[in-house]
Structures are given as structure tokens and as C-alpha cells.
């Protein structure tokens, strides 16, 4: 089954090369890689261009992560879709493990475990303990899920993946979680933005929708 990978990128010059290399070196490489540059103002595009025709670059004015993911979805055609943020990494075997689990369980969405990639100010990196969690970068999803529940909500500046997961869950799509580590998620110094007001407002908005769905009100 054809597998597409979408890489949303915004000002990830330092990291995007490693991210793309981690995709290309997978034991089961994807059939299609589309990277969506969301109006980067640094050297991201030049770094991406260095990968030649192994990846397809889509450029757009800055519209946010959800819009970048959606542009990637629209530009790909695989029946299976995976995402990797331009500052994160897939360890070897990441895709193969998720695809094997997806096939074996006949699931619609599979997630693997995640390790935080922690960087010190000196540039040294270390990995945190494995954590189970549903993130875009740890997911492989059948395109039919998006066809049914819709794409990412572009009015959200954050929590758009939580929103998608909640909608998929409410629509009855089962997800499978495997214990294999499939994503190294880079944690930056200012990575605690989750607690900032705007990000919290988005999360609360998503959760209100989830509660409304449970009550049987709108927000399909």
C-alpha cells in the first residue's frame, strides 16, 4: 500500500536536514515525501533543496502548522499517511514497525512510543525515557480517516492534532498503540509554550468540542 509522508516546516533550518535524512534512511522508505514550507524566513528552503528530487517541496505563505499539514495532505496521494515535524527525527525502523502493526491489527491509526530529544545549551543531546502518546509524528493513518472526519482545523494555532485525534475517536476509528519507539521529539528551550495563554485557549476550545460531541451536539 502506498505510503506518503508529510513534513511541515517553519524556520527549521538547523533541523530539517536531519529530519529528512531520518525519513530517507528508513528500512521501509515511503513512496512519497512532501515537505511544506510554511513561509520560513531562514535557510530552510535551501536546506530542503539540497535533497533534490528525493523530496517534493511545496511552499506557501505562513498559515500555521495545521494549514501546512493540510497542504501536504492535499499534495500527496498515498492510502497511508505519516507526518514528521521538521525538527523531529524518526529512529531506524520507525515506519516499518508501525506499518507491520497496522497490517497485523487491521487498524486505521497506529501510534508508537516517543522519546524526547533534549538539547543542552552546549548542543549536546540526550534522549528522555519512552512515553506512550499520540502525536502526529508517531502516527501512521489511513487516508480514509481524513476523508471521513476532515483535515486539521486551520483555525487552531496548536492542539490541532489533539482535535483530529478526538474527532477520529468520536467517529469510531480505532487506534493501536505499540511500545516501539518511533519518534524522537525535539524539546527546545522555549518548548513549554503549552502552558501559555493562547495554546491553552486552543486546547480548551478543542476539549469543549470533544465534550459537546459526547453529549451528541454538533462538531461532527
Amino acid at each position: 500500500m502506498r505510503l506518503s509522508v508529510v513534513v511541515p516546516c517553519f524556520n527549521a533550518e538547523r533541523f530539517v536536514g536531519d529530519a529528512l535524512a531520518s525519513i530517507l534512511s528508513q528500512s521501509r522508505p515511503p513512496d512519497q515525501i512532501v515537505i511544506v514550507d510554511d513561509g520560513s524566513t531562514d535557510g530552510s528552503v535551501a536546506r530542503i533543496a539540497g535533497f533534490g528530487d528525493r523530496v517534493r517541496l511545496v511552499r506557501q505563505a505562513n498559515r500555521g502548522a495545521a494549514a501546512a499539514r493540510n497542504a501536504g495532505l492535499a499534495a500527496t496521494d498515498g492510502a497511508l499517511v505519516a507526518f514528521l515535524d521538521a525538527d523531529d527525527l524518526w529512529p531506524p525502523g520507525s515506519l516499518a514497525r508501525r506499518l507491520a502493526a497496522l497490517d497485523q491489527a487491521d487498524a486505521d491509526i497506529v501510534f508508537g512510543a516517543v522519546r524526547a530529544l533534549l538539547e543542552s545549551p552546549s548542543g549536546a543531546a540526550r534522549l528522555g525515557p519512552p512515553m506512550q502518546g499520540r502525536l502526529a509524528g508517531s502516527m501512521v493513518v489511513r487516508r480514509r480517516v481524513f476523508d471521513r472526519v476532515g483535515a486539521f482545523d486551520e483555525t487552531l494555532a496548536s492542539a490541532e492534532v489533539v482535535d483530529f485525534g478526538a474527532r477520529a475517536q468520536a467517529a469510531g476509528f480505532a487506534h493501536l498503540s505499540i511500545g516501539d519507539v518511533v519518534l524522537h521529539r525535539r524539546v527546545h528551550g522555549d518548548n513549554l509554550m503549552l502552558h501559555h495563554g493562547e495554546a491553552s485557549a486552543d486546547a480548551l476550545r478543542v476539549l469543549r468540542r470533544s465534550i459537546e460531541r459526547k453529549r451528541g451536539r454538533s462538531f461532527a
Binding site: N11, M131, S158, N191, E198
Partner: protein, 154 residues
């Protein structure tokens, strides 16, 4: 449960939003989220304003014309759930001696306050992806997007 001291919302881990009397609360540290309405929203708001549970119960008894014991039980039970879920904590003795703020309008009819507890998205909320790669990176709201829901504590 001491009803004569004041309690504080466990910020920054706990955030909430009230729209048309329905309150949604998120605990970033546990990934759990909660909902309440009507009397529950009133208690949540008044506790957050620094009023003691006892004072909130008195206001509730007066506005809804229920007996004081029923009001006190309702507020105490609801407070117990808030504390058990780490949404509020007793303020320090020093803070508790601050003068209470004036009361706000209380509901006119009584119903037992309930706290809906949701754990279905905890794993996603605990690891909610942060897209930024620096001060100018994600998350950044698209300029054309509508603003987030405004809190309406009415």
C-alpha cells in the same frame, strides 16, 4: 475539608474557560479535562475569586432559597472533587487572611453541582506537540484565523 479557608486554582497547570455558564477545565499535568455548569460554574468562579467555601455556600443558600446544610454539603462535596483532582489547593494561611472579595450574582435555582471527568485524550494532551523551532516558529496563529473563544465568566 476546611470550608473556612480560601482555595486557589492550581495555575499554571490548571486552565479553564467559561462560556454561557459552561466551564471546561484542563489539568496540563495529568492530561485530564473536566466540565461543569450552573452551580458548579458558580462555585468554581467564586473559589477562584478567593471566597471561602463557607461564604460561597451562604450565598448559594440565600440566592436559591435552600437550607444552609444542603448548600454547605453541595459546596463541600464539589470542593472535595476539585481538590481530589488537583484542580485547587488550600491557600496559605497568610493568603487566607486577605479580605474576601464582594459576592457576585449567584444562581436563582439549585441543582446538585457535578464535575464531569474525562481521561480519553490524556495521552495526547500530555504530549501535545509544540511546533516551534525558536521564538518566531510555530505555534503561531495564522493572521486570518478567528480569535480563540473568549472567556465569559457570566
Amino acid at each position: 475539608m476546611d470550608l473556612d479557608i480560601s482555595y486557589a486554582v492550581n495555575r499554571p497547570f490548571v486552565v479553564s474557560d467559561t462560556i454561557e455558564g459552561e466551564t471546561v477545565i484542563l489539568h496540563h499535568g495529568t492530561g485530564r479535562y473536566f466540565d461543569t455548569a450552573e452551580i458548579g460554574t458558580f462555585i468554581w468562579r467564586e473559589l477562584d475569586r478567593g471566597r471561602s467555601p463557607r461564604s460561597v455556600a451562604v450565598a448559594l443558600a440565600v440566592s436559591t432559597r435552600i437550607d444552609g446544610e444542603t448548600a454547605t454539603d453541595a459546596v463541600g462535596t464539589f470542593l472535595g472533587e476539585l481538590v481530589a483532582n488537583e484542580l485547587v489547593s488550600a491557600r496559605s494561611a497568610e493568603d487566607s487572611f486577605e479580605p474576601e472579595p464582594p459576592p457576585t450574582a449567584a444562581p436563582a435555582s439549585f441543582s446538585v453541582p457535578t464535575l464531569g471527568i474525562h481521561t480519553d485524550l490524556a495521552d495526547m494532551l500530555l504530549l501535545d506537540p509544540i511546533h516551534d523551532v525558536g521564538p518566531t516558529g510555530w505555534p503561531r496563529r495564522p493572521e486570518t484565523a478567528p480569535s480563540a473563544s473568549a472567556a465569559d465568566a457570566a
